[in-house]
Subunit: 397 residues, 2 copies
Amino acid sequence: MEKEVRVKNTGLRGVKVADTRISFIDGENGILIYRGYRIEELAERSTFPETAYLLLNGVLPGRGQLEAFEDEIRAARHLPGFIVDSMRTLPVKADPMDVLQAAVPLLGMADPDLADESREANVRKAVRLIARVPAVVAAWNRIRQGKEPLPPDDGLTHAANFLWQLTGEKPPADMARDFDVCLVLHADHTFNASTFACREVVSTQAHMYAGVAAGVGALSGSLHGGANARVMKMLFQVEREVKSEDDVGRWVRDRIERGEKIMGMGHAVYKTFDPRSKILKEMSRRLGDQTGHASWYRLLTRIEEEGLREFEKRGKSNIKSNVDFYSGSVYSMMGIPVDIMTPVFAISRVAGWCSHVIEEKFAEAQEKPALYRPEAEYVGHYCGAIGCSYEPVELRA
Amino acid sequence: MEKEVRVKNTGLRGVKVADTRISFIDGENGILIYRGYRIEELAERSTFPETAYLLLNGVLPGRGQLEAFEDEIRAARHLPGFIVDSMRTLPVKADPMDVLQAAVPLLGMADPDLADESREANVRKAVRLIARVPAVVAAWNRIRQGKEPLPPDDGLTHAANFLWQLTGEKPPADMARDFDVCLVLHADHTFNASTFACREVVSTQAHMYAGVAAGVGALSGSLHGGANARVMKMLFQVEREVKSEDDVGRWVRDRIERGEKIMGMGHAVYKTFDPRSKILKEMSRRLGDQTGHASWYRLLTRIEEEGLREFEKRGKSNIKSNVDFYSGSVYSMMGIPVDIMTPVFAISRVAGWCSHVIEEKFAEAQEKPALYRPEAEYVGHYCGAIGCSYEPVELRA
């Protein structure tokens, strides 16, 4: 029996709602673990497909298993024609996250396993989602520019192939590897808002696609997946408003004094540095030099330093840079448009969402919550159990 | 400070997560209240548009307000052309709930207020959703049959117009009124799984359409909105398997003894009769006589009686018929196909979803939960904070 906690109006912060075997965060010490493995180790030594396999299956694959898994992803990358046809009907100004949310149920319609709720079928659905969410994002980015979607290139890795299908340019190997690391870093994060939305939806026995579409919706919110794009908007604002880098301190101070946030700083769970942020910071430095955007990196580090100092002064030393602080700059350096950054988050997180959907669907009875069905405290208009008296419309004031 | 409760692995059952002013359930006494008014009173004397106004705005409208609200709904019923074009690309076997989930983000793309997060704009979005969710469901039912969607008829009420657009027949006035009552009965039900999914999604500051698409996903689950269709499937099974009505008792007993559920009986919140069920039971009786389906009503009442007796015998007298037990038969008598029954639930519940989305977005700070971000207990593979040792794939067994 765990410690009892106050729940109401806390957004369930700190409230353990279920057991999980997928990932673990120690927010005090800045530790993130997937299935037992530290995120730093996976970022350095694993790849996104291998990490996705690990998240889905609980163990690292053997060589044959990994090759088979990668083959399955490769085979599933081709989008069914009706999905592309459907996307062609949409307004070109549609937000890519809205397009993705609409496309996920369509991916379900194209899945021959849709009605099969066995574990094996759910893993196959997960593989198709991991393969096709990037294909949808890349296709939409082409369609909205009046271009034809590009076919997948079977000679490219999962990460490289996305950048190719998105931009029409085959990325250098080191950039492709950097993007692969970004996908590893974002692949899971316990019961964040979008993952919890996926679990909530499938707890009703809805299928995986219905759950993942909810996850896309939650991720689209500016407090969740939209944060890296907001960091980029903040960065562009600083570029416009600040004459020299020495004035960044004043800009940051003014902003904090006005009670505004520094985008990409602070986190619901981490009370110290987000372990993913450190890796992305180093990547931003390196890519900045390679791509001629070193000034973005320099500005971000100044904003971060000044932010840390100002928050420290105000007794808020737990507000540190999070995963979103440097990821936007990294994506920009890779040629990813600002409004595709949240979809890129989805391309990675879909591995975690699907793993959590499977955990929710197949957990042992004693650790499986029934359908999530909380209650609320009614504080509204009340005339007792007999109910308020209904006046016909003719008699109302 | 409320009573502290155990939370983990309970599906948040009995856990108050937020304040609400929208609706109230007294599950012990079978009472459901919308904004202070008893559901029985609203079913008898209000209409669905008026009830939707009440849910959204907190008070019953004056005559002019009601007329203006109905005019807005009528004006918004026409679907933007690209949405119909998009639906035409979909496989005709697609489940109507999957089509609806995909269509909701498209409705967002067509909304000129999409990016406006003022309260007024959110109410306008809600009106468009209430108007257009039925239009999508009806259009899909035509498209999948190879027919053209029917235009809305401005001379018909909201309820009658849906039946017309769905079936191509204008319903008799009393049937239209019965359907209107069904919509009133299903319009809200506090923090059920789909409503909570909507709130969870928009708590990230995602827009209303992203939240409502999540609600559609949750409602599609067989433990939630799919239950009335499952009652109909059970009813058809009884029709096939039971030779005379006197054998219904044995059929029910056998089923309960095998540990199977009686569809449409039992509820997470009600421990006595669901107040909506009583109204639907009477409607099923009356419509059964009118439409020549009195045998469905008779069979259902036999199943209910035998179920109540068997559950009582087993000390489970709190398992009573719920809202889904008679609604499927009512919808069938109105000519609504079985796989459109859950979408019909959505046509009504969208009023509640939108009201909850607005409450979530505009609640006072002290009662507004931050973004819902629960935690989980990690019970998986663990090698300590240092992490498990990553073996390169070549070295794995």
